[in-house]
């Protein structure tokens, strides 16, 4: 029993150790990619808490990612905030957005929930376009390199960027590793498996789902704020439907309801698109094919299939 319960912890720290050491061996181009992958994996992990662990399929998470991104970007360029408080504004904006959307959307279930979240996110995207005077619409805006400094460290430098992304990833990864095995996470899993039963065991399932939505939205917002801070660009593209579908795709590919799945999914999809976009402008074809093939042949995703076949302990 002790061996079994120690394996997940070993995996969590093993993954973090690998990511930390990879910077030393990777060429700069791939280290830059990996920094981007880690930030996007944070987004995917936030999505996974809601989709993979709670069983709620949202098609509107781009709104939370964008709320984090614009919260940080606008408060830095508009109010002249420094990165750390601006990051807090970003996460706060995403948390608030997810609380409001969650409160409304959780009155529906199933297909209606997907469409409602999609509609709200679409409205959010249009709001960004509508206030083009501040947001610069589709074109977006750049956060100056001179402003992206924390304690005198230039975040646009290779090492600083990599390790800031790493810290963001590690905090979320460890937090979620703890959360999904804590009573709260266990209850979310029970709701995913059979919501009515969980309710008839005395759980206020609506409240649990709302909390899951808020945590998920806050993590997605942290990813959006981190992305804007580390890569210096804020744009409406990140609020489009496509960016709501990406985390779904990543999580499905890596394995919904697994801790490591989001990172694996983002990693594979990032390089798949990176390679195919060099060949054709129709690189989203890869995403489409992946979605169809996954639903047909591996609905559990990479880590999910691993868990089913080999490592039953995978958290």
């Amino acid at each position: 029993m002790t061996g079994k319960s120690r394996a997940p912890n070993l995996m969590v720290f093993g993954v973090l150790l690998c990511l930390g050491l990879l910077f030393l061996v990777l060429p700069a181009y791939h280290a830059g990619n990996l920094a981007r992958i880690m930030v996007l994996a944070v987004y995917a992990m936030g999505y996974n808490l809601l989709f993979g662990y709670t069983g709620l399929l949202s098609l509107g998470h781009a709104m939370f990612f964008a709320a984090g991104m614009y919260g940080l970007g606008l408060s830095m360029t508009g109010w002249g905030l420094s990165p750390v408080p601006a990051f807090a504004v970003g996460v706060g904006a995403a948390t608030l957005a997810s609380a409001i959307i969650g409160f409304l959307a959780l009155r529906t279930r199933g297909v209606a929930f997907m469409i409602v979240t999609l509609m709200f996110a679409q409205a959010g995207y249009l709001v960004i376009l509508y206030f083009g005077a501040y947001t610069r619409g589709d074109e977006g805006f750049v956060i100056q390199q001179a402003d992206r400094m924390i304690a005198g460290i230039d975040l646009s430098g290779d090492a600083a960027r990599y390790f800031t992304a790493f810290i963001l990833f590690a905090v979320c990864f460890l937090g979620l590793a703890w959360l999904v095995r804590a009573p709260f996470g266990r209850t979310l899993i029970a709701i995913r498996e059979n919501e009515e039963r969980a309710q008839m065991l005395g759980y206020d399932t609506t409240m649990y789902k709302l909390r899951a939505m808020i945590v998920s939205g806050a993590i997605s917002g942290a990813a959006g704020a981190g992305y804007a801070l580390l890569f210096g660009y804020v744009g409406a593209t990140f609020a489009t439907v496509q960016y709501s579908i990406f985390p779904l795709l990543w999580v499905l590919l890596g394995g919904a309801g697994t801790l490591i799945g989001p990172l694996v999914g983002v990693f594979f999809m990032f390089y798949l698109i990176d390679i195919s976009s060099a060949v054709t402008s129709a690189y989203m074809l890869i995403a489409g094919l992946a979605l169809v093939l996954l639903t047909l042949f591996a609905p559990q995703g990479f880590a999910g299939e691993l868990r089913k076949r080999v490592f039953a302990w995978l958290p």
């Binding site: 804590a182 009573p183 266990r186 209850t187 899993i189 029970a190 498996e193 059979n194 009515e196 039963r197 969980a198 309710q199 008839m200 065991l201 005395g202 759980y203 206020d204 399932t205």
Partner: protein
């Protein structure tokens, strides 16, 4: 009897699109006793217990738990008061282990203390004879074992009232015997409300019987009284399938 009632309904009524499923049901559940709710198919038994547990909203009437009106409480709040409920159609967390199924039920009460929780879960599983299967996935269990697992999920909550909706349906004869022994062991500690078709189970376990027919109470009393009731004989017991 009135002094020791734990739950009472007054004029409880449920209407589905003009059709009355329950009409003016006045019902008392004596504390610490086993009460059976019987009646032919479609008599409104499941609707009635649904209204007790809060799964089904009542059209009119009142439910009192320990003297307090609980009409306004949603299902999960009623469960938190100590009303445990097992589904008529088996409803376990099919993807989770047997242990985790019971742990979900226990966690709300036991809180975060892992060893106390495990002890509690282990005890409940032992009581229904599922200890050996604690690590199996619930969905892989046989139907009979899933029903027994449901009972363990109820037991582990140490409920004040334990509502069992047709618990012996689909169980083998030996499993039914185990169930009767289990109900016997709860005597005095938990109030049991049992919906049951199998009359031998009812006669061997129940202290009191309430008979529902066409959504209304037809008779109530001890097994002997109910057995002797002419209306009941005409409506229900007289049929050969009992």
């Amino acid at each position: 009897m009135a002094a020791v009632e734990i739950l009472k309904t007054v004029g409880l009524t449920k209407t589905y699109a003009g059709l009355k499923a329950n009409t003016d049901v006045n019902f008392v559940l004596p504390r610490g006793k086993v009460t059976a709710l019987i009646g032919p198919n479609g008599a409104g038994k499941s609707t009635f217990v649904g209204m007790l547990s809060g799964r089904t909203p009542a059209t009119s009437g009142d439910v009192f738990f320990e003297g307090r009106n609980i009409n306004a409480l949603p299902a999960h709040k009623r469960i938190q008061l100590g009303i445990a409920y097992t589904f008529q159609i088996t409803s376990v967390f099919a993807g989770l282990s047997v242990h985790e199924n019971v742990a979900v039920a226990a966690r709300r009460i036991a809180g975060g203390d892992q060893s106390a929780l495990n002890a509690r879960v282990g005890e409940a599983l032992a009581r229904v004879g599922l200890s050996e299967r604690a690590d199996q996935i619930a969905g892989d269990l046989s139907y009979g074992h899933q029903r027994v697992l449901e009972i363990a999920m109820g037991l582990v909550q140490a409920p004040k009232i334990f509502i069992l909706d047709e618990p012996t349906q689909g169980l083998s004869d030996s499993e039914v015997e185990d169930f009767i022994a289990l109900i016997g062991s709860l005597a005095g500690e938990t109030t049991v409300l049992l919906i049951e078709h199998n009359m031998s189970v009812v006669m061997r376990t129940a202290d009191f019987i309430t008979v529902l027919n066409n959504g209304s109470v037809l008779a109530r009393g001890t097994p002997e009284q109910v057995r002797a009731d002419r209306h009941v004989q005409a409506a229900y017991l007289g049929t050969p399938d009992a």
